[in-house]
């Protein structure tokens, strides 16, 4: 069950692939099917359920492409 | 008598500059006058890039080409930027893999080449520029394919020599795309 999720601003993504290496649950990858307005291949999440909202991906993204949200209900279980 | 003014335009990274240089080298090999001039957009990275190539048996004056004989267009913004400059009855080569759904002006000879698609089929998307070059040479006959291959052989030495084959294929496919 996902602890949160990330929102990708695809148009800002430069497809640099940096963030993908830092996701502890390995759910990030470039979306080879897409090309954004600037000609880059943007990021996508392969398995959103696994996201732990750790923000590592977002921290490493030079272009502030990624917003990270934590699901609050989860907190109550804690 | 050769007297060709050409503008090649696209994104940085599409090999636009190299295409122009190859033509200038071919001219130099034949002791024909030539001038190559690059122009980069205000964005250093990933912006637009274009170059002007003049090949002439007379002496070359202005490096700036205001009315090109031919135009090789590698991406959408470049078409908008340059097509109106093209001489009446000039040749317009368009990479239709990336340039779609754009109105094209009248009064010029249009050649549509899905260069990226062809290049991908050849197994190396980077040779899209050579596909366009093949088409350009086939139509204008400014130089033969051999002239270009000769330059490539001079430049691609060592490891890079292995790339000549695919470039040759790309030239061929480009030629085919406009002669079929």
């Amino acid at each position: 069950m996902a602890k949160g999720r990330i929102i990708i601003d695809e148009d800002k993504c430069k497809g640099c692939n940096l963030c993908t290496f830092y996701c502890p649950v390995h759910i990030l990858e470039l979306n080879k099917e897409k090309t954004n307005a600037r000609g880059y291949t943007p990021l996508m999440v392969t398995d959103p359920d696994k996201c732990i909202a750790c923000s590592f991906c977002a921290m490493m993204c030079p272009d502030s492409v990624i917003t990270v949200e934590r699901f609050i209900k989860e907190d109550n279980h804690g | 008598m050769i007297n060709e003014q050409l503008i090649i335009a696209g994104f940085g990274g599409q090999g636009v500059m190299l295409m122009g240089q190859l033509l200038s080298f071919a001219a130099t090999n034949k002791d024909i006058n030539t001038l190559w001039f690059p122009s980069y957009g205000p964005e250093t990275r990933g912006g637009t890039a274009n170059c002007s190539v003049t090949i002439s048996e007379e002496s070359v004056n202005s490096p700036v080409i205001s009315k090109p004989d031919s135009l090789i267009i590698m991406n959408k913004p470049s078409l908008a930027k340059f097509q109106d400059k093209l001489k009446k009855d000039g040749c317009l080569f368009i990479n239709t893999s990336l340039v779609k759904d754009v109105p094209i002006r009248d009064g010029v000879n249009v050649y549509k080449i899905p260069a990226n698609d062809i290049a991908s089929k050849l197994g190396n998307p980077k040779v899209a520029n050579m596909v366009m070059m093949g088409a350009y040479l086939a139509v204008t006959k400014v130089f033969s394919q051999e002239d270009i291959i000769e330059v490539l052989k001079e430049k691609f030495v060592g490891e890079k020599a292995s790339l000549i084959g695919i470039n040759q294929e790309a030239l061929n496919e480009g030629a085919k795309a406009v002669t079929l």
Binding site: K14, M59, P62 | -
Partner: protein
């Protein structure tokens, strides 16, 4: 959906524009840390940033605070002019290793010497990015650049300068630290250092400089991830991370 909390988003100290950096260049990461620090310390609305000359020359368009674009190397002098006239402003420069370490070393040293109450964000990527990859004073021995095509040699160009170490000897400087942004842990550490520097300025406690180990994937000729790994393997051993001067805590290191 309503039960979510945003835990990471683009800083409001950054404009909503495309950054001019190449894909995966860590200049962008460092920008975020500057932006977040200004917001978190509540000093954004009195900040003036100084863009220098390098790949970051255009960052006057990226930060939402007041900005001045300085001549190559002279950002600390420009900052001095602003800060002396407006002592309550928060002034930072953002400079590369060519800008600060080469042409501008005098201005950096003398801003520290006078104890100017400002913060220098120093981005060491061991190369001149903007101009296409020439040798910088911090280029490592053996590193190939367009002006050291066979790799930098000591005989021709000397041993790379260590800026944090050099600046730490200046009696007027308050805080000097070298950090890296090669993984999330170090990003967090780097941010802590930068916030500390800005806090020192906020408290009018003087000059601070944070040196960031950064990458230049394009001119190093590597993918962004490879570049980050190269920095860890090659730069950090020569440019050790850590606090080089902390006047407020007595001199460390």
């Amino acid at each position: 959906m309503s039960n979510t909390k945003i835990v990471y988003e683009k800083s409001k100290a950054l404009e909503d524009v495309h950054l001019s950096y190449c894909p995966g260049c860590t200049h962008g990461v460092i920008h975020k840390l500057v932006a977040e620090s200004l917001v978190e310390l509540d000093i954004l609305d009195r900040a003036v940033g100084i863009s220098s000359v390098g790949c970051s020359a255009l960052n006057y368009d990226f930060f939402t605070c007041d900005m001045q674009q300085a001549a190559h190397g002279r950002a600390p002098a420009v900052a001095t002019g602003i800060k002396r006239f407006k002592p309550d402003s928060i002034v930072f420069t953002y400079q590369g290793d060519g800008d600060l370490g080469s042409i501008g070393i005098a201005e950096a040293i003398h801003a520290a010497h006078r104890g100017e109450n400002m913060t220098i964000v120093f981005v060491n990527n061991a190369i001149y990015g903007m101009t296409g990859g020439q040798m910088a004073p911090t280029t490592l021995i053996g590193q190939k650049t367009t002006t050291s095509p066979e790799g930098r040699t000591e005989a021709q160009a000397g041993l790379p300068l260590r800026i944090a170490e050099l600046m730490a000897t200046i009696p007027g400087a308050t805080y000097i630290e070298r950090v890296s942004v090669h993984d999330p842990k170090h990003v967090m550490k780097a941010k802590k250092a930068l916030k500390k520097a800005f806090e020192i300025q906020k408290n009018k406690q003087g000059f601070s400089l944070i040196e960031f180990i950064s990458t230049c994937p394009v001119n190093w000729g590597m993918t962004p991830k490879k570049a980050v790994d190269w920095a860890v393997d090659n730069m950090i051993p020569y440019f050790p991370l850590g606090v080089y001067k902390d006047k407020l805590a007595g001199e460390n290191k």
